[in-house]
């Protein structure tokens, strides 16, 4: 269980440097404004900030943007994401001050970068001259030893729905930072339009500043960039690996989770950091949920046995025990009871028949059988009005796997704004329509025969943006995503990455990564790439230098543009264990099906 890495598995680079860098920069920025100041921190930045700097380090009064501002000092500092909404809020504060005849010093620190549009708004609101702007280039937060998050959940909606490319530059800069700190990446692969753009921008940055990274030994041998829209299916599935399940149930936020009273079995909520430092969690995070309980009870017995050792100890041994082991045991005890509590809570919520039915339906959809039953299950789900988000998710899953909604399922009962949600989903390619899509392909293939390749590519782009088609079934067959099951799939001893979905489905994204790494290129995957509508956007770039050590060649940085799920992380960790790789994950944000749907829905605000 746990993490029995092969003995030759490479060491992970130390990412805590990123934290130090960000912290030092922030302190420097704040010291630019000497004296006492009020610091406004946007709610979204609070948790990431908490992970790198103790707020007390800042030694300033910080207020959340939402809370009603009560000023103490003559200096105001705003720490915000570059959003127009925030600019307007700041403008209203500053203008209110002006009306009241108060003069203050204002400083806006944008994280991770400043956008021209924001300055524009400040200017339009007439306060550009009153505030000074700065950038806090805090784009990479190490959530765990192998997980870096940019904490930009809006990336998904901004890029995949609105076609807004501004975050791509941020990604490129983050990659640039990584390559300056940890050496160049000798092998690069990627798939997806955004991946390609980010990659090219990053390359440009490297060229402009070359000389710095030259000659450095690469620490990380491969980098793989992947767009979320290459694989929506995996992200839409219910997660059954422990960490994913905790995320689905309690929502892990910035690497920590709030366990409510029903978990802590006290009347208080508890905020718990979930990472490799939590010994208990570390051992169960990647396990299928069905194993977790057994593991935990075994662990509990072990713990008891260790406690029991103290009987029959003489004084000296006892002293030793108390001073050395007891603290560790107590800590472990505490964690163990927490996770057992969490498990119980999950069981209560999930192991009702509903959940099993749900999983069964999902698997049926993935495997492509008994579509009618699944459809009527979804219909019933909608009829029962359990949860709009869940219903939407199932609809999307159905639509992608079946390449179109078999029947228009009315959602209007959830309110008119969901009409917009639907159009959003369609635009992002999460919902596809059967009819027009097929005719398009026909037209497309005719057109592409007539004109040159390049033009055809453009036309294909145009068409695919009109109606993204999903070829999930064909891809699934090509990549063998549904493992052939003979007999019971033993979830205790997983055979392949499918274990993260109870052995029913190998995550598409992970399979692509596995295949490309095996071949060291996209060779032989042309058909898959075409089916993914990524003809122009799959790339490989290898430098011929042999400076990379064999150790570094087994370290792989996987970049998920638009977010990745814990299931994918678990699956790749498993793959790494099997093949002697270590994967490092860089994601714009950790996501799950509910977050995807929420990002797409229009809500009254």
């Amino acid at each position: 269980m746990a993490f029995p890495h092969r003995p030759d598995a490479p060491e992970l680079p130390d990412f805590s440097m990123l934290k130090r860098l960000a912290r030092d920069q922030l302190i420097y920025l704040l010291e630019q404004l000497p004296g006492k100041k009020d610091l406004f921190i946007e709610a979204d930045l609070m948790s990431p900030l908490d992970r790198i700097a103790n707020v007390s380090i800042l030694k300033v009064r910080s207020l959340s943007l939402r809370s009603c501002p009560s000023f103490l000092f003559e200096q105001l500092c705003f720490l915000v994401r570059p959003r127009i909404k925030n600019m307007r809020y700041i403008a209203s504060l500053v203008n209110a001050d002006k009306v009241a005849g108060r003069t203050r010093k204002y400083k806006v620190i944008f994280s991770p970068q400043k956008f021209y549009a924001c300055e524009m708004v400040l200017e339009e609101e007439g306060i550009y001259g009153d505030v000074s702007c700065d950038e806090w280039a805090f784009s990479l937060l190490p959530l765990d030893v192998d997980l870096l998050s940019m904490e930009l959940p809006e990336f998904f909606r901004d890029y995949f729905l609105e076609g807004d490319q501004r975050w791509i530059n941020t990604v490129a800069q983050a990659l640039h930072l990584l390559s300056t700190l940890y050496g160049p990446f000798p092998n690069c692969y990627g798939i997806g339009r955004c991946a390609k753009m980010a990659y090219e921008l990053w390359r440009k940055l490297e060229e402009e500043e070359d000389g710095e990274t030259k000659g450095r030994r690469p620490e990380i041998g491969h980098i793989f960039l992947l767009d979320r829209d290459v694989d929506f299916v995996t992200a839409l599935c219910s997660q059954v690996v422990y960490e994913g399940l905790v995320d689905d149930t309690f929502r892990i936020k910035c690497g920590s989770v709030d366990f409510g009273p029903e978990v802590t079995s006290s009347d208080k909520s508890l905020k718990v950091l979930l990472n490799a430092e939590d010994k208990v969690f570390h051992e169960i995070r990647n396990e299928h949920f069905s194993n977790v309980f057994g593991f935990l009870s075994q662990k509990a017995r072990n713990l008891q046995a260790q406690y029991d050792r103290r009987r029959g100890m003489d004084i000296k041994q006892m002293k030793n025990f108390v001073s050395q082991e007891l603290k560790g045991l107590k800590q472990e005890h505490r964690l163990l009871s927490l996770h057992i509590g969490a498990c119980e809570s999950i069981m209560k919520k999930k192991t009702k028949q509903d959940f099993q039915e749900l999983i069964k339906t999902e698997h049926a959809l993935l495997e492509g059988f008994s579509i009618r039953e699944s459809t009527s299950y979804i219909e019933e789900h909608i009829d029962r009005q359990v949860s709009p988000i869940e219903s939407l998710r199932l609809l999307c899953l159905l639509s992608i796997t079946e390449n179109g909604e078999p029947k228009r399922l009315q959602m209007r009962i959830y309110g008119p704004e969901h009409l917009l949600t639907f159009s959003n989903l369609r635009r992002a390619g999460l919902l596809t329509e059967q009819g027009p899509g097929d005719t398009l392909t026909a037209v497309e293939s005719k057109v592409s025969k007539l004109v040159t390749d390049k033009a055809a590519g453009k036309i294909t782009d145009a068409f695919s943006s009109l109606a993204k088609r999903s070829n999930f079934r064909a891809i699934s067959k090509k990549l063998n995503l549904i493992p052939r099951v003979d007999g019971e799939y033993d979830l205790k001893v997983p055979r392949d990455m499918a274990y993260v979905f109870s052995g029913a489905y190998v995550p598409l994204s992970c399979r692509i990564i596995e295949q490309v790494l095996e071949r060291r290129s996209w060779q032989g995957l042309d058909e898959v790439v075409r089916l993914l509508n990524c003809g122009d956007f799959a790339f490989t770039d290898m430098t011929k230098e042999d400076k990379a050590s064999s150790e570094s060649l087994r370290l792989i940085l996987v970049v998920f543009l638009g977010g990745c799920t814990f299931s994918e992380i678990s699956a790749l960790r498993f793959l790494g264990r099997e093949k002697g790789y270590r994967f490092i994950f860089l994601t714009t944000a950790v996501t799950n099906s509910a977050r995807l749907m929420e990002a797409m829905s229009e809500v009254k605000a």
Binding site: I84, K85, R88, F115, Y116, A117, M120, V121, E124, D158, E162, G163, D164, Q165, R166, I168, N169, A172, M197, E200, L201, K204, E207, E208, D210, G211, Q353, E379, E380, I382, D383, R384, Q385, R408, R412, I413, Y414, G415, P416, E417, L419, L420, S423, E602, K604, A605
Partner: protein
Amino acid sequence: MDCYTANWNPLGDSAFYRKYELYSMDWDLKEELRDCLVAAAPYGGPVALLRNPWRKEKAASVRPVLDIYSASGMPLASLLWKSGPVVSLGWSAEEELLCVQEDGAVLVYGLHGDFRRHFSMGNEVLQNRVLDARIFHTEFGSGVAILTGAHRFTLSANVGDLKLRRMPEVPGLQSAPSCWTVLCQDRVAHILLAVGPDLYLLDHAACSAVTPPGLAPGVSSFLQMAVSFTYRHLALFTDTGYIWMGTASLKEKLCEFNCNIRAAPKQMVWCSRPRSKERAVVVAWERRLMVVGDAPESIQFVLDEDSYLVPELDGVRIFSRSTHEFLHEVPAASEEIFKIASMGPGTGVFSKESQKADEYLREIQELGQLTQAVQQCIEAAGHEHQPDMQKSLLRAASFGKCFLDRFPPDSFVRMCQDLRVLNAVRDYHIGIPLTYSQYPCQLTIQVLLDRLVLRRLYPLAIQICEYLRLPEVQGVSRILAHWACYKVQQKDVSDEDVARAINQKLGDTPGVSYSDIAARAYGCGRTELAIKLLEYEPRSGEQVPLLLKMKRSKLALSKAIESGDTDLVFTVLLHLKNELNRGDFFMTLRNQPMALSLYRQFCKHQELETLKDLYNQDDNHQELGSFHIRASYAAEERIEGRVAALQTAADAFYKAKNEFAAKATEDQMRLLRLQRRLEDELGGQFLDLSLHDTVTTLILGGHNKRAEQLARDFRIPDKRLWWLKLTALADLEDWEELEKFSKSKKSPIGYLPFVEICIKQHNKYEAKKYASRVGPEQKVKALLLVGDVAQAADVAIEHRNEAELSLVLSHCTGATDGATADKIQRARAQAQKK
């Protein structure tokens, strides 16, 4: 050796002064220097002469002429002066010529006589005219100090960042001061002026009278004053022929000297060097030059011609119509070696050529002074002007080095390199007579290169870079970039040729910014050339601003998009928005989807109306529809407004051929109206509820009829209605109504949900009622739910369904259901037998 020290003149006991020729000038001056305004830049800089500056007539033939020469007298530029009368000339630290006009305007020219810019010293100066002006240098740059006709001073400490400062008035000042100068102390510029026997110090706040300590009595006027190059020392020349020398702070006297010449000197400058042994002042009259210091005797020279003194960091340059000389204190190292009867170790090494060399050398070695001797030779070589002498000294050093075990070679190597560079720039054709104390001790190689570039001596500069192996970015490419900027100004060459020539030379040299060169080309009015050059610029971020400036916004937009930098795109967009009319702007956007989506995002938050216009322009009815839907709940408050917005949306959807959305929107309108009516009639909150919630609310409120009516009106499918009612009634715990409802007709959703919901509400009794009615496929489940394991087992056995059997079995708890479990096992066994 005797001949070598022939030009050494002792001053006092400790120091020698020597004067040697730098160049013989062939500038072919027609006038005497005294008829011209003269300005010579320090650090071997250029010389500017303004002929006929005082002629008032406007006749072209006698207009003033401004000539610029190199220090060796090579003409660099000559131009006819067409502006107002000039009071003073001076060079800035960047080697720009500042010409102070009588009206207070300062005209700035380049080394080649190219006009750069001009600025004014303020209104006060303009009104009172300029009486006198000085250009001075501080660590901030070059400043200008002006004495106006009203005897007031105005100064600016840095002409690069012009801040005028008007100095306070000197009380009782009726006539111009007899002499004045700018002092720079504690990074602030002061003015010291002499009025009759009094000295005044002006700082920006006050005017204070000062007295130099130890000043000889009987002074009735000061004729001349001089500040040293570093502003540390001050010399005053009085009408009694007495010279006072002291610190510039006027706190300490160094020495005094009485020269007994009462005539005002033409010029007086300090002559010292860093770590000088004996500071001295050089005083020049028409035909006489005197070096005075702390010694009873002065050194005197006769001047054959009209001469001009240029103070330098380590000496004084003296040029006249025919020669250019350098006067300085003999550096310690040279003195040690060459002084007659010198006992310095360096002497021994240097005299190696004499027969006694060996003997000397051994002597020095025994004394353990050989290292010092070698160092002295190396240093002395640096201070020599003649390459021959440099060579002999270096040879001596190299010879001495052979006898040393571990003498680090770098000082020797570096000296050789520095001398090479120095000799190259001192060359007659280049004419920058720098000394070793000036370069590399004071000026850096970067500054030297800049000066060469300024003189358009690109090949020499590049050779120096290559010789010194400077990194490309600091050296060669910087010079090439300057060359290119110069090249684009050659108007007689065609755009293509210039662009090609530049690209050939520069290629992809790192550190060269094509956009800077293009900007220069644009500055010269060569837009086409600028665009061609920009093509070579690899960084789009650099291309865009210039393209915008050149009004090539559309090109700029595509470049910005290419760069992938959204901020850049946005900059161009806003530029375009102001530049084009709305229609054209939208058309441009239409062809650039990336820019379009960016702009849409912005509009969504800032300019909703523009967003609508954008969709209208594109006939994007689908999005228009969505837009109005959003407006219907986000922007509109009143119900009529909301319905109207929805109507517009529906129309748009019809145009977009999206019947489904259109119908849905119309339904929503109906629902809104209806909800309004419900609120009016029944009270409570209905608005903004979904259809489903509306019906639920009605049922919960006991308005079953209404609810059913609504369901019929909106054609809610049967199944959904049943679910809805079931949930609502169970929530109400209205079991009676629920039962009635269940019997109203055959349930389209079966009866299992009834059982489930009752169990959920912990009503087993009610649940059992429905369990019997559950269809056969779900019967087992239902029975298990109500806890009737035995019956469930019976049904399962009847069904002969293996899955059901195991389900029931899993529900069997050991104690109570033992019999049932056995029964199932038996049934299983039987089934297997068959």
